[in-house]
Amino acid sequence: MATRGFLIRFIDIGLIVLFGFLMISDIEASSSVELAGSRDPLEELQPEDDDERAFVVVAIGADGSFLVGESQTPIEERVRIVEVEVLSRVLRSLDAELGVEDREVVVLIEPHPMSLVQRTVDVMDVCDRLGLPKSLGMNIDVAPGADP
């Protein structure tokens, strides 16, 4: 009888410790995004000579807003977007428009040095969701003296 009581208490303790650890543990699934070299994607891909692909630039501002337009569109004519959902719609419609001309859209992501990493990941997610090839411009120059 005493042994049985001890066993029940032992099981109680074991289960509580197990559930306690499960509740407290901070398990999160993570993955990784391969980063290419630091060459300028515009130089590497040579959009001026490419008739089969349309290069759409998504510039991410320091404030997190997106400036979207084809690579040959002047900056002042590009569309400024704040919401990721709107960006998704714009890229989808650009893809549909340019698809009619048989041109494949390639998204060139150009983040401002002070823009947040999350915003770049958001744009990459949009491209993946829409099945658009993307290239992240890592050729960011920081003004001298701008150290943490």
Binding site: S30, V117, P148
Partner: protein
């Protein structure tokens, strides 16, 4: 008798919970809050030695399981170079764990350091929702 048995078990449960929380409360897996991605797929197992580089929002780099703080890409370059020396001929890659609210310039600096050392690099993200 049954009542005292119940009380004893209840006391056990409470004490275990209490000591469990006390002992675990100092454990902190990581201070880096990764950017969240809904589309990045689940990774394949690593086949090479991975050097993790954490990036805080203020631009500080964290290495060696976030035990060492490095300020600036020059210190990061020195550290990674030293690690490469210790690892010899083993294939090595760099995994950058940037906080979601850190500036891109720090990520780019870390990426350039990896490029200078000829190391493949990847940005670690937290999978959310639709990630497979």
């Amino acid at each position: 008798m049954q009542k005292s048995g119940f009380v004893v078990r209840f006391v056990d449960v409470v004490l275990i919970l209490l000591f469990g929380f006390i002992s675990i409360s100092s454990v902190r897996a990581t201070e880096i809050d990764l950017a969240e991605s809904t589309e990045t797929p689940a990774p394949a197992p690593d086949t090479e030695e991975v050097l993790f580089v954490g990036i805080r929002p203020d631009g500080t780099y964290l290495v060696d399981e976030e035990r060492i703080e490095l300020r600036g890409p020059n210190e990061l370059l020195e550290y990674l170079d030293a690690q490469l020396g210790l690892l010899g001929d083993r294939p090595v890659s760099v995994r950058i764990r940037a906080s979601h609210d850190s500036a891109m310039r720090f990520l780019v600096d870390a990426a350039r350091v990896a490029d200078e050392l000829g190391l493949p690099k990847a940005l670690e993200v937290r999978m959310a929702g639709g990630g497979e």
